[in-house]
């Protein structure tokens, strides 16, 4: 097939994207959590 350059349409192509980001962050912060607890005994 021969690639054809079509004339750009006058009406925009509408693209709706839903981007959901779920990521396990809690694991990454475990060490920080332990550190905060040890350094701030007066608070916890």
């Amino acid at each position: 097939c021969i690639p054809v350059q079509i004339q750009a349409p006058d009406e925009p192509i509408e693209i709706n994207l839903n981007v959901n980001i779920r990521q396990e962050v809690i694991v990454r912060l475990e060490r920080d959590a332990e550190e905060l607890l040890q350094q701030n005994e007066d608070l916890f």
Partner: protein, 106 residues
């Protein structure tokens, strides 16, 4: 730890929450002094969570939740009340271990 707060925890007036902050147990009588101390404690906790979250590019609530996990997994004494992930107040007893939030990893 602040003795007035420790006494209030032991007396079941206040307790740890799954969001990383101290809360008032429903029905407990809370003096103005105790209210001020708890709010003072929570302001300082939020300052810690905010500073550390900014360094780690995590959200403040995530940092608070990560601390709540550590607290729920080791710093709630038998007899103390706490507020679980669903928002209900519970009491740790000999037979009822602490309900650790689902977002925690063991």
């Amino acid at each position: 730890n602040d003795s007035a707060l420790s006494a209030a925890r032991a007396a079941g007036q206040i307790g740890e929450q799954a969001d990383g902050y101290l809360g008032f147990v429903p029905g407990a009588t809370i003096s103005a002094d105790l209210r001020g101390r708890v709010e003072q404690n929570n302001i300082r906790r939020r300052a810690l969570y905010t500073q550390r979250a900014t360094q780690r590019s995590a959200s403040v609530n995530e940092m608070a939740a990560a601390v709540a996990c550590e607290v729920f997994q080791g710093r709630i004494a038998v007899g103390e009340r706490y507020r679980n992930e669903g928002g209900q107040w519970r009491q740790r007893t000999a037979s009822n271990p602490v309900e650790v939030p689902g977002f925690c990893t063991d």
